[in-house]
Symmetry: C2
């Protein structure tokens, strides 16, 4: 089994933190996305979408998409549970994880890739080239601001994103808000719920992954 | 338990087909998205995101996001399996389902909502109003064309989207390609893999859901 990884991007970090919380160690290969290695023929032969992370099982099965990779390890080793323990919990965790991905992760990427000169001709992650759309960068930044307000409201009421326990939804949220901060869309001051939660989850040993 | 539903939108149909495949019947309430009922105070009190489908459990727990609702029923009633039966299968199904959602579903929605006068001030689904971006409609249509080619290639090699068995990834793909066709982004002629698969999955009784 091998994990194709990138220390520059937020999605591979989700998987690294998930594995750290599970205490699972894997052979990893860093793919240099800064040099475009994810779009090289060698990597596209492994994952034609050119995306990271990508997990290759011993039988050659290729799994991409962070949540699918996390699902594999959650099913293989349920403890500690990071995706809920019964049907209701599993649904709640998946619901919140998707809120964070769709209302937070997508807008951050819209704001970042459509606003950075580096991605002027590759504004959509992966193989196909698409020109940046400046108005979409602006919409992304507006939606990120809305997302921070909603996330803060949630975290004033709930210890963790999906309820009383730390789950993959917290991992997703941590990776997104810290990536957003890195690319100049930091959360504003005064969001006490988000701040309290961020201090707590970023202090877990797994956050160093 | 109650399902808030819409017969106009593609995501609620995913859940209806999933339930039909499982043989599960639920009380459903149609929410008239054409009249904006999903953004009424009454519905926002149930789901503040204003999105459908939304499932409310008997204990009051609210689950939105189609895949989270499907997960709930898959965990409650695993037969017939629609999300895989072991860790490897579950990861493969989730990986393919997400390919379809991100590479197909998002571009279809970009192309539709940013290009239709009805959504000129509500180009992002849900509560917040965001103005349409014509260049994003165009990018969406280009990406949908790319998606059809990739999906066709897959379905020339594989009986179903995620492999040898019908799964939720087929449900997602069916709802997306038929919705795209309805909103004037039909798949082109000559995609024999996609056509063969579409004839098969659209003939299943569940497709009428």
């Amino acid at each position: 089994m091998k994990l194709y990884d990138s220390t520059l991007a937020p999605n591979p970090r989700r998987v690294r933190i998930f594995l750290a919380e599970k205490g699972i160690e894997l052979p990893r290969t860093e793919v240099d996305i800064g040099a475009g290695e994810n779009l090289s023929p060698a990597f596209l032969a492994i994952n034609p979408r050119g995306l990271l992370p990508t997990l290759v099982l011993d039988d050659g099965t290729v799994i991409d998409e962070s949540m699918a990779i996390c699902r594999y390890f959650e099913e293989l080793q349920p403890e500690p549970p990071l995706m809920g323990s019964d049907p209701r919990e599993k649904a709640i965790v998946e619901s919140w994880n998707r809120h964070i991905e769709f209302d937070g992760g997508l807008p951050v990427m819209d704001g970042f890739r459509n606003g950075h000169p580096r991605f002027a001709e590759r504004a959509v992650a992966g193989r196909a080239g698409h020109a940046a759309i400046p108005a979409l960068a602006e919409r992304g930044r507006q939606r990120v601001a809305e997302f921070y307000a909603v996330l803060d409201e949630r975290l004033r009421l709930s210890p963790y994103v999906a309820g009383p326990a730390f789950t993959v939804a917290d991992i997703t949220a941590l990776c997104i808000v810290e990536f957003a901060r890195t690319v100049r869309m930091p959360w504003p001051a005064g969001l006490d719920g988000l701040e309290r939660w961020h201090q707590e989850v970023s202090a877990r040993p797994s956050a160093a992954a």
